[in-house]
């Protein structure tokens, strides 16, 4: 996430928002953000959201996720919101939505449904 210039824009129990500037280095020749960046931001937002409901010291890994790419992302900023749908002892299910913000508003660019696992201690 650091490589992408992403920051935690909001953190609450079971919900995390990650934001990053849409910069040329993260974009394709046509000016749209690489879909992979939105996917990585959503995956991180979901993972951190899961982590907020786990005990201190826990770690989380993505087991799997599905993402629907809804629209190309252009504009000023990408915002990825992750929230816990169901928290279990081992597995946590999260949902994420990514939006591309521009001056006139925001566009829903991707939606994710993910399964996270609490990592086994080393």
């Amino acid at each position: 996430m650091a490589t992408l210039g992403a920051e935690l824009a909001d953190v609450a129990a079971g919900r995390v928002v990650i934001a990053l500037a849409i910069e040329p280095r993260l974009s394709q020749q046509n000016g749209f953000l690489h879909a992979g960046v939105a996917v990585a931001a959503l995956d991180s937002a979901c993972g951190y959201a899961a982590l907020t409901l786990m005990p201190a010291g826990a770690e989380v890994l993505s087991v799997e996720f599905k993402v629907n790419l809804l629209a190309p992302a252009s504009g000023v900023r990408l915002v990825a919101e992750g929230e816990v749908v169901r928290a279990g002892r081992t597995l946590t299910v999260c949902r994420g939505d990514a939006y591309a913000e521009h001056e006139a508003g925001r566009v829903h660019v991707a939606t994710m449904l993910a399964t996270m696992v609490r990592r086994q201690a080393g």
Copy 2:
């Protein structure tokens, strides 16, 4: 859906709710509803939700869906809510959530993310 005794409990633009009684014939030996029933209800709720935003005479088919099974379903009634996340000319993305209702409240039993396609005219 008729086979399952399901009914349209609510219909609005981009959102459909399907409900069905949790009966022994739809349940496993342990008394829990077959997961397949919740999946079928979610798939239908998503498909009908997509249909509400299409022109009259259109038909919709499920391209694919992912479902997370969150908890076993028991109780009196299963409620499956489908809503459109993004409606396109050809493809519509929907999200669905199924709940098992019992006297004391309801349990979130499954969540779906689905892609629907407007069927080509015969």
Copy 3:
């Protein structure tokens, strides 16, 4: 599966095949098998495939699955093949493919990618 008249057609380590007759009671008005039946057969084939690699007495639950519906299913018999992609201590990832067999050959009707969990002892 019993309700669907399904039978285990083949069982090997990490691979299970389930077959069922395509009967009118499992079909829609247009004669095609309900998609839910293929999905249930795939889910079962994946679950049993996971079980073949677990110790005796283990139980398996579906965490989640994604299925792409490729073609309507008609014909004589539905065959659902499930195989383990990766077996872990807690989680097992499986892939499944369903085919509708008729006299002239078979049609690939659905493909699944699923995550199974070894059930915690009661």
Copy 4:
């Protein structure tokens, strides 16, 4: 893909293999490749595989994909194989598998199931 240093290692009708060197700049602090890189490589391999079965001049977009992350990726090279499961006029379903190659062999690190759409002409 150019940013990742990826190259088309093999192209056949309905099947494409993409390979890239596992370099420090694509890796996390623990030395493992960022999961996002494997996901992007799989998405590209699936998209190109779909493209091989389309008429010249066609373009392809990812509608959605699901990926299971099977193991952390380390080693010398990442190989992402994409193949068409079913090619339709508008939609193509693909499957992808990514492997991390090292001196002693290779590890299956991720598997994908994706839906691609033939892009509407501009």
